[in-house]
């Protein structure tokens, strides 16, 4: 796993042996492999076995009710390729994941830099900015569903500010709805990214900044050459969390728009849910879920490899 930032830095505060000591002890008593057995067994029975057994149904025409169903090979998967709704949902999923990853982390980083500075009431601000992240997604979604209605608070505020031209049918217009959903998620989770960045920022030793300042580096230069490389681990975690979260996104979309209007905001997850539970096409929807799993695995592995190489390069 990723190293915490302080482990990669020359640490001036601690005596040299304090760092080496655990290593020595670790080398002497490697825990026996079967210590991991209970956890592995639990994971296997609760997660692995049911998941693998579930995958089997992706190759059947099970309707979720009838015990009589037949094996139909890869038909469900070829149906996905012929299904414009599914292809559109995959596109929406990737679009949402990429947009959220970029915007949420950019906003999160800016907020972190802001509340890491010496401004007044920064502790209150930190709590305030993090607060949306601890509210249940369904609650925030219903809140925004009303705020973003045609007569909702957002349009009223725009009207009051004289920006009538900016008023939109935020969730009812297929061109805008997807971006409204992205906006709500960024609003909710930017604070979460902020906290992780903040932890990274606070582990950057003051001495390095001071040394760089003495060498004549300005704030921008110091951010780019000192803070940014040392933030690499925090960035890795944030990017991983936001891209996986973005790809799996379900509750906010379902509560905000239900995938509508039409299929304009359907993601893979909402489509899986609808195909399984309203249409009873369990086989097909499990095939979609398998596709989703593969996408998450490929994207997150690829991203992890790139970012960890990047981390090694800067450290």
């Amino acid at each position: 796993m990723t190293l915490a930032p302080h482990e990669q830095l020359p640490d001036h505060d601690r005596p040299p042996d304090a760092k080496r000591a655990p290593k020595v002890r670790r080398a002497r008593t490697t825990p026996p492999w079967w210590f991991a057995l209970p956890a592995l067994l639990l994971f296997a029975f609760v997660v692995l076995v049911p998941s693998v057994r579930g995958v089997y149904y992706a190759f059947t025409d099970w309707d979720g009710l009838d015990p009589d169903f037949s094996f139909i090979g890869l038909d469900n998967f070829s149906d996905i390729l012929d299904d414009p709704d599914a292809m559109q949902a995959i596109w929406h999923t990737l679009l949402i994941a990429v947009s959220i990853t970029v915007v949420q982390n950019a906003v999160g980083l800016l907020l972190a830099l802001g509340v890491n500075s010496a401004i007044k009431s920064r502790n209150a601000l930190r709590v305030f900015l993090f607060a949306p992240a601890v509210i249940t997604p369904i609650v925030t979604a219903y809140l925004w569903r009303n705020l973003l209605g045609p007569d909702g608070a957002v349009n009223s505020l725009l009207g009051a500010a004289g920006l009538d031209g900016w008023q939109q049918d935020w969730l009812g217009s297929p061109q805008v709805a997807l971006w409204s959903v992205i906006g709500v998620i960024v609003w909710q989770y930017a604070g979460y990214s902020m906290v992780i960045f903040l932890a990274g920022l606070q582990s950057v030793p003051k001495e390095i900044h001071e040394a760089a300042a003495i060498d004549g580096a300005g704030p921008v230069r110091r951010f780019w050459s000192v803070t940014r490389p040392l933030l690499a681990p925090a960035l890795t975690i944030n990017l991983m969390l936001s891209i996986i979260g973005g790809i799996k996104l379900f509750d906010q979309v379902y509560a905000l728009t239900g995938g509508g209007p039409g299929h304009a905001t359907d993601t893979l997850s909402t489509l899986i849910y609808k195909d399984a539970f309203t249409l009873g096409e369990f086989g097909y929807s499990i095939a979609l879920a398998v596709v989703l799993t593969i996408i998450v695995a490929v994207v997150s592995t690829g991203q992890y490899l790139v970012l960890s190489r990047n981390e090694r390069a800067v450290s």
Partner: protein
């Protein structure tokens, strides 16, 4: 080696205990309880509570453990419960076919008990019986019927100085006049996709079934299609209504709840909905008077039909833990007392003719249409699968947002219809 035995033992014991705790968790979903406990899952939120109370009073010592939920959520949950054997003894079941909780869908794999031997089964009127049965056997205790029409806010109508239209031409004129007065004719909450179908059903009743009451038989025989029928006309009229300004702005951004608020407060003159909305409107505006009228679709008022059909009823789980009590409850629902209690609270009409029920004046027109056989079932109740309706619902949202056309939608519905059950 010896020193490692103890931690290993602890680990093994812990993992077994944890696994046992996990498996115990699934069992907690079961109802348990003695012979005096009945489990019930219902979608009749706001009315089943009173019926349960009356049932418990009539049967001292009996306890009904019930849950209520919205239709969408319920349909999803009941399938999971039935296939995993954790379903309650009595559950809400929709009439006919065409939705995931409908009679045929649940009776076909054998999840429902045959109720044909109960005394009320033979008394059901034909229109109700056809959708309560699967292969000639009755599975659904349908207690009420509902209709779809234009529900007018009488105070708002008086204020606007307008009267309810009874021809298509008058309807469009009514919409224009209402819009000119700043209060659009009807509230429309198309953000919730099930709402999108109601106006269309109201129009289809007259345009499709007016000239041809046997349209469904022709569809089943493969002699008719949506695209080549009056469905195209009805859909066209729906779009015309939208273009004429019959609905408030941005129906796709407005949800069911918000549409009720518009009609209840008089910001629109009415709402095209099922009669069930009347109770909800009264809840939002207790001083208001709301009346349901047929929605005209042609210029001959005598041709107008109302989509009116059996509402959701109750089925008995074939594997009910308490079969006796389950039957007792269903029979109570179908008794005059239970039925009248239910429909009074819901604002509908009873399914059996002889219960002595006095309909609310707001439903006088619906009641008149039912007795004079001027009603047709909700269209989806006789469709072969759930997909036709779902395609229609999202397709209507797409038409309203310019992503699709009526021709495209009807062609897609034909494809889904032909894919069979």
């Amino acid at each position: 080696m010896k020193t490692r035995t103890l931690p290993a033992l602890i680990a093994a014991v812990t993992s077994v205990a944890v696994l046992a705790a996990c498996s115990g968790g699934t069992r907690a979903g079961d109802s348990g309880g003695g012979s005096k406990t009945l489990t019930l899952a219902s979608v009749d939120q706001g009315s089943v509570e009173d019926v349960v109370k009356a049932f418990e009073k009539a049967n001292p010592g009996v306890k009904v453990r019930y849950t209520t939920s919205g239709a969408d959520q319920y349909q999803q949950q009941i399938r999971t419960q039935l296939s995993s054997g954790t379903a309650p003894d009595v559950m809400s079941v929709w009439p006919g076919n065409g939705n995931p909780g409908a009679t045929v869908v649940l009776a076909k794999p054998g999840y429902l008990r045959d109720l044909s031997d109960q005394s009320w089964a033979a008394k059901m009127p034909d229109a109700i019986k056809t959708v309560a049965q699967y292969e000639g056997k009755t599975y659904n205790a349908i207690f009420g019927q509902n209709g779809i029409g234009a529900v007018y806010n009488e105070q708002a109508m008086q204020k606007a100085g307008l009267t309810a239209p009874d021809t298509w031409t008058d309807l469009l004129a009514f919409c224009k006049a209402a819009k000119a007065k700043g209060t659009p004719a009807f509230a429309l909450g198309n953000q919730d996709n099930w709402v999108t179908q109601l106006v269309l059903y109201a129009l289809v009743a007259t345009t499709v079934y007016g000239p041809d009451r046997d349209f469904d038989q022709q569809m089943q025989a493969g002699q008719a299609t949506f695209a080549q029928s009056q469905w195209a006309t009805a859909l066209d009229k729906y779009v015309t209504m939208e273009k004429t300004g019959c609905f408030q702005k941005n129906p796709l951004g407005t949800n069911y709840e918000a549409s009720q608020a518009l009609a209840a407060s008089g910001k629109t003159l009415g709402i095209i909905q099922g009669n069930w909305v009347i109770a909800l409107l009264k809840g939002k505006n207790p001083k208001g008077t709301f009346t349901l009228k047929a929605l005209p679709a042609t210029d001959d008022p005598s041709q107008t039909l109302i989509p009116a059909a059996a509402g959701a009823g109750y089925g008995v789980n074939a594997k009910a833990k308490n079969k006796e009590l389950a039957l007792k409850f269903v029979n109570f629902v179908m008794s005059h007392e239970g039925m009248n209690l239910f429909v009074k609270k819901q604002g509908g009409l009873p399914s059996l003719p002889d219960t002595g029920y006095v309909a609310d004046p707001s439903l006088a027109e619906l009641s008149k249409f039912i007795t004079s056989d001027r009603t047709v079932p909700f269209m989806d109740q006789l469709w072969p699968n759930a997909k036709v309706q779902q395609t229609m619902l999202s397709g209507l949202q797409e038409i309203f947002s310019g992503q699709s056309t009526p021709e495209k939608l009807l062609a897609e519905m034909d494809t889904d219809y032909k894919s069979g059950s």
